[in-house]
Symmetry: C2
Subunit: 238 residues, 2 copies
């Protein structure tokens, strides 16, 4: 909710004991614990008591700070969404500013995806949990689609805008479906489910985001192009 600026502003040793509503450690510890557990077991798979135990606080405290269980979940979801959305918007803006007139699908997709890969690689365990959580919500019927839309739509619309400029021949229908494929692929890899490790018998590792970074944008950009080309020259390949 609150900006990330003020880091350790503790130069008033005689003032009131730190009481600002957004600083106390407990809020953060509860959020962290909830994030970790929700990511692992989903909303219904976690009890407020588990959250309290993992956070090392009393059960009643979770209600004191966040009210109902559902509000706690919402705050977990919101916390990093705001950070992520800002980073992605900046990344897309920067890309457009530097490449106006000669944008490519690869470039736009990379600008869109990179902030997430960076956070997953260097953001710590909390970000890993967060992406796992978002990946689950992404594939949840009704409620999931609505939630993803509510939290992430502006950035996605911005990406579509850049893709439209990079591929003026593409129809909007193609752009939306192409994005759907992109986000499905991206969310699955960010979830790091361990599936590919088993499938490939250890050759590929879920956590190897560098392998993804070099592949996903190329893969999806080629997909967009092919979809677009397919309309002008419908291939008869079986």
């Amino acid at each position: 909710m609150v900006a990330s600026g003020k880091t350790p502003a503790k130069p008033s040793p005689r003032g009131r004991p730190p009481k600002r509503a957004d600083q106390p450690d407990l809020r953060v510890r509860i959020l962290d614990a909830a994030e970790d557990l929700f990511a692992r077991h989903g909303f219904y798979g976690v009890t407020t008591r588990q959250v309290a135990r993992e956070a090392g606080v009393d059960v009643a405290l979770t209600h004191y700070y966040f009210g109902a269980k559902r509000s706690l979940f919402d705050e977990v979801f919101l916390r990093r969404a705001e950070i992520l959305n800002q980073e992605r918007l900046e990344s897309l803006d920067a890309y457009e500013a530097a490449h106006a007139g000669r944008m490519t699908p690869e470039g736009a997709i990379t600008a869109f995806v990179n902030p997430m890969i960076e956070r997953s690689l260097s953001g710590g365990a909390g970000w890993k949990s967060y992406f796992s959580l978002v990946a689950q919500v992404n594939n949840t019927p009704h409620w999931g689609g609505e939630t993803m839309t509510r939290f992430f739509d502006p950035v996605v619309q911005r990406l579509i805008e850049l893709l439209r400029k990079a591929m003026p021949e593409a129809t909007d229908t193609d752009l939306y479906w192409g994005y759907q494929f992109l986000t499905g692929a991206m969310m699955l890899v960010l979830a790091e489910t361990g599936r590919i490790d088993l499938l490939s018998n250890g050759l590929c590792r879920s956590g190897d985001l560098d392998a993804i970074r070099t592949r996903l944008a190329a893969y999806c950009a080629a997909g967009f192009r092919q979809m677009v080309a397919g309309h002008s020259a419908p291939s008869s390949i079986n």
Copy 2:
């Protein structure tokens, strides 16, 4: 568990009243209800009482037929997995038999995906629920990756085999990652979360699997090719 051959073998009107362990309606009704609810709310989001109520049977019956809640879930998951796996294997076999020596990524992917699209389009509500359920499991950490592997690996390995023949220059690493992107995209669209409807403001509809049929294979096939080409000639495109 049991083959799908014997359909309505009821020509013995004077024998014993139908008592075969695999025929009674109740098992099926419970499975159907459970499938629908698990698909909508996930494993922990559903109670055995809800299942019983939706099936129109007593709570105790769910335990009588399936034992613990978890076994019920497993049977739901298994029931259509067997049908689907067989259909996909047959589809892949048929494609290879008809196009040996001149297989394409498009063709192999289409053969892999088509049975699912057909079932989702014409299989009825149960199949829709089932795909929604699988899509959720697909994005579930640890447990999801392990489950998907356990139930679906043979067909996936078969697909990879065909892709390897269609693109001999591709490395296994590329093939596995390419499949990861494919399955992420495919599962998201089969989940029909309504996301694309909201995102596109009604232009695209989640349930429009024909739109997907004509796009997904082309999209992913182009992705595979580009990934492969990227190695021999690393592009400097930003």
